[in-house]
Amino acid sequence: MAQYETVIGLEVHVELKTESKIFCHSTTAFGGDPNTHVCPVCLGLPGVLPVVNKKVVEYAVRAALALNCAVASFSKFDRKNYYYPDMPKNYQISQYDLPIAQKGFLEVEVDGEARRINITRVHMEEDTGKLVHQGTITTTPYSLVDYNRAGVPLIEIVSEPEMRSPEEARAYLEKMKAIIQYTGVSDCKMEEGSLRCDANVSLRPAGSSGLGTKTEIKNMNSFKALQRALAYEIERQAEVLEEGGRIVQETRTWDEGKGVTLSMRSKEEAHDYRYLPDPDLAPLVIDGEWVEAVRKSLPELPDARKERYVRDYGLPGYDAGVLTNTRELADYFEDCLAGYGNPKTMSNWVMGDLSRLLNAKSMDIADCPVRPGQLAALLRLIDGGTISGKIAKGVFEEMFETGKDPEAIVKAKGLLQISDEGAIAAAVDEVIAKNPKSVADYRAGKEKAIGFLVGQVMKATRGKANPDLVNRLLKERL
């Protein structure tokens, strides 16, 4: 394999979460009974006409600016003509030679090494409907079609063929997701179809500059699938080339179950889409001042926010990266810091206990039952010695379960840490009296025996004794 280098380009489709579709007033809401989120326009009935949703253009520009693209001052829509039952008009309104934005980039980090991946273009287009087959597409006796999704606004983001490995491609897609999600124009969830990715893969002799024959890979429905599919395809192509064969330019589908890519070669030759400017839509004249206003309204983007966390909070790069992965999580974290002064401690709690509980319940941070102020209050209780760290974990689980304030839970369950020396001394004395063997072990030099004794004191005080005090008093009395 050392003789070949990999060339990967990604085509990413992002569903924009405007209220209504790109060319009509129908709702873009996910779900719903089939063919209920439709109207004559998105059904392509005879006589209808498209009218562009201005919000879609705004969202596309937001995404393009966040990806460092140049926004066109003149753009237009074109018809891409081909026949398929999930496309009501048998043409898709898309953009061909004058897309809304071009020449952007984003930065990825793989194994500590940062690289810039360039973006060729961003354009707007309408989504198709969905086909439902009984079995597979080739064995089904009939298919049903649901047009709820037809006309949902998409942007297509095309990268330059500059990624060199499956890991880099995955990092690119993850960064793309974070950036777009920050702009608020899409949820970017692969599992819901609001983020989709196709890949173009080719190999070339190491060190050469031309491009080998590429294959297009489709049907990768998760970041992991993307990585696995690319790894498989690279190996497959390498084997073909090593045996002296030629790569067939074709579209291949990733089969998750079998872990392979399969040829989707159909009877048709390469599509001639017969693009023409859509005569039903006026060209878009984009005002530079409006673009600047959109640029100013962009939030702090992931890379900048991560840098700020490292710089201002002194957090390690890893922590900063995890916390700024989504805007919601970063906002939550900063809201917590409004009531608590130690970023690293808070980071540990958010990345640790909080994330664990959210994942266990498959919840998003947006649905978190614990408000930032409550988590901050909990950590203040620990710092103030009111409860021990260990007890706090239990309190946190209860907070997550009930949404109640930490103070209320501590009070109701009588969990106040015992810091009264006298009370602890009494318990310590009792434990020493009851455990002569451990005491003897410790006095004989077995340091670890104190752990057992500490545990006994904690047990006797139902976990509420201040552990530092217990340690100190035990050591004093042994």
């Binding site: 004559p40 059904l43 392509g44 009935l45 005879p46 006589g47 209808v48 006409l49 498209p50 009218v51 562009v52 018809r79 003509n81 026949y83 039952p85 009501p88 008009k89 048998n90 043409y91 298919s143 079609v145 001639d272 017969r274 693009y275 023409l276 005569p279 039903d280 839509l281 006026a282």
Partner: protein, 485 residues
């Protein structure tokens, strides 16, 4: 006086004076239709119940002393390529033989708001592709002046219905002459407004950058009234111009004294029938006697109009008609093996030969390797044609020409050679390419068949065009002629 011979503005007077009722009027129209429709066959779907229901509403309003729109209660026919909610709309094609739209075209809604009574959907060349209505997927319509001759096309049904007294006014659509040419063949008035003046929402698309909906009537005033009722911006049509409802009747009677009228030489050359040319020359002299200045001028790129049109229109049509595939509505071929087979058989069986011809031509023109040489080139030549009009209309207020090179021809006379048929739109096509408004009104007879005079105006200056038309009309009595049906 037979009610079906009166104009909408005359009838409106009678209605508000309560000398007749709207119901009476519509019933008189139905009676006339029953007498002649067997011969003319202007309608695909009559809608008498709907018309009477509306007539009753109008009568109630008038009885209550409420003001009503000039078109209230007036029997109007609508070309069957405009969607009417709940009423079958076929575009005269088998592929839409059973299509019932769940919505109405904007122009239909505006007519309803005005209180007009929709009496039926009229016949046309299939998907508006043709110049004689012989391409209808169902049956041909006959010219009321001579039943062996075509009414013109593609809005042949609407033109014939108005001429025969089967309605008072009608809507048509015009992509290359499809209102003006049948108006001229049937001796009625027909207007194609400036591109963008009337909403296309609900018009079954043929060529998006050329299609416009317009009006038919027995005189200029009626046409102007109908156009006023349907014009103005529609938020559902991105190509509709940003202005409000116009009153095109305001300056109708202002005369043509001092008006400068240009007659493009290219439109009076050989290829134009001798009798037609003489009628138009007569109109030119008539205009001079009315105080206008009439001169010959030139639109130098006229010879490229036909090829330019027949590249752009079919290209857009090939894309617009892709949706007719049997999946969602309309005809679906039985006994198919798979989806591709269904597409192919549905379209092969559902479309007529002229529609297929234009889809194939349009597909070719847009295909890889040919797009630049044909479609893109045609778009550029279109700009040159438009600039011809811009220059001429700087110098002249309106342009004058024959509407068609001939009077109505006989059935089957031109169906053998499609290109021969295309030539009947020679004088009208450029107007759509330039987007300017154009209209036809009767200016004489040849062998008993009406001759149409075309008047062309500046973009959004229908007022001047209509004023010129009205002056000529009122100084002659062609508009009072009626076929002896």
């Amino acid at each position: 006086m037979q009610l079906f011979r009166l104009t909408a503005h005359e009838l409106h007077d009678l209605l508000v004076k309560k000398e007749i009722s709207a119901v009476e009027l519509n019933e008189a129209i139905f009676k006339r239709t029953d007498a002649v429709e067997d011969k003319v066959r202007a309608f695909i779907t009559p809608t008498r119940q709907e018309a009477l229901a509306r007539a009753r509403l109008v009568d109630a309003k008038i009885a209550a002393g409420e003001p009503v729109h000039p078109l209230a209660g007036i029997p109007v026919a609508v070309k069957d390529n405009m969607c009417t909610k709940g009423v079958r709309t076929t575009a005269a094609s088998k592929i839409l033989y059973n299509f019932i739209p769940p919505y109405s075209a904007t122009v239909v809604t505006r007519l309803e708001e005005a209180g007009a009574a929709l009496v039926g959907k009229t016949n046309l060349d299939e998907f508006a592709m043709g110049s004689s209505t012989e391409n209808s997927g169902f049956f041909p319509t006959r010219n009321p002046w001579d039943l062996d001759r075509v009414p013109g096309g593609s809005s042949g049904g609407s033109a014939a219905a108005v001429a025969a007294g089967e309605c008072v006014i009608a809507l048509g659509s015009d992509t290359g002459g499809s209102i003006r040419q049948p108006a001229s063949f049937c001796g009625v008035v027909g207007i194609k407004p400036t591109y963008g003046a009337v909403s296309r929402y609900g018009l079954i698309a043929f060529a998006s950058s050329l299609d416009q909906i317009g009006s038919f009537g027995r005189d200029v005033t009626d046409c102007a009234l109908l156009l006023s009722a349907i014009s103005g911006h529609d938020p559902l049509d991105s190509t509709s111009a940003h202005f409000g409802r116009q009153d095109y009747t305001k300056t109708l009677k202002d005369g043509v004294r001092g008006m400068k009228i240009g007659v493009p030489r290219e439109y009076m050359a050989e290829g134009i029938d001798q009798g037609v040319r003489e009628a138009v020359e007569g109109a030119m002299r008539q205009y001079e006697s009315l105080g206008a200045v009439v001169e010959y001028t030139s639109l130098p790129h006229t010879e490229y109009a036909l090829p330019t049109y027949y590249l752009i229109a079919p290209a857009e049509a090939s894309s617009n008609l892709a949706r007719y595939d049997g999946v969602r509505y309309g005809y679906r071929a039985p006994e198919v093996e798979d989806v591709v087979d269904m597409f192919m058989k549905t379209r092969s069986q559902g479309f007529g030969p002229e529609v297929k011809r234009r889809i194939m031509l349009g597909t070719f023109v847009l295909s890889a390797g040919y797009y630049d040489a044909y479609y893109l080139k045609a778009l550029k030549v279109r700009t040159l044609i438009k600039e011809d009009f811009d220059r001429a209309l700087e110098k002249y207020d309106v342009l004058l020409s024959p509407t068609s090179p001939t009077v109505a021809f006989r059935f089957g006379e031109k169906t053998g050679d499609p290109i021969q048929m295309y030539f009947s739109d020679l004088c009208t096509m450029s107007v759509n390419l330039a987007g300017v408004p154009g209209m036809s009104l009767p200016c004489g007879f040849v062998d008993g068949m009406p001759v149409g005079l075309q008047i062309v105006g500046r973009h959004f200056d229908e007022a001047t065009m209509l004023r010129a038309a009205c002056a000529f009309e009122q100084s002659t009595d062609y508009h009072k002629q009626f076929p002896g049906l």
